[in-house]
Symmetry: none
Subunit: 88 residues, 2 copies
Amino acid sequence: MDTLSHAKCVICNDRAKGYNFNVLSCVSCKAFFRRNAFREDSLLCPFVGKCNITLLTRKFCQKCRLNKCFASGMIKEKQKQNKDHINT
Amino acid sequence: MDTLSHAKCVICNDRAKGYNFNVLSCVSCKAFFRRNAFREDSLLCPFVGKCNITLLTRKFCQKCRLNKCFASGMIKEKQKQNKDHINT
DNA sequence: ATGGGTTCATACGGTTCA
DNA sequence: TGAACCGTATGAACCCAT
């Protein structure tokens, strides 16, 4: 739809590419969430835990980026769960 | 990218090799910053604290070189060590 | 067409060595 | 110190099931 073509990623404000894990988001945030949704505990913010996430800064802090993914409504249950959890 | 191939290191004007610690810089300044970012306090300028940093002079004063790294926007939080500092 | 996963080239941080 | 090398995270292209 045309509305979507100008849509912005709710996480980083890059160009959105549709709904991913329930949230209007860009391809990079989609990939990021798929990779990190289950790594929550092992991530740590190198700053003070309040990083502003933008197209330019999204790479700097995984912890805050992931937090924003969750805060924006992304849900990890949508994933195949084959991640076998890392915590085996 | 081609633009990057002629790029100059913001710190010493040597040939830049991409972004390191958030600043367009050369391999030597990258290595220098990694080694010294957390040694700020123990460094001392042997001159008057206003050393001009170039490809030729960068070796002479660590203090002023490090200052220029910070002034140019390098951020030490990008280094792994820092996470340990913060947590412990 | 949409939204999952898979794959691959690249960027960049760390490690090693002359 | 600086250069070569290595490993991991990122993001874009692509594939597949619905």
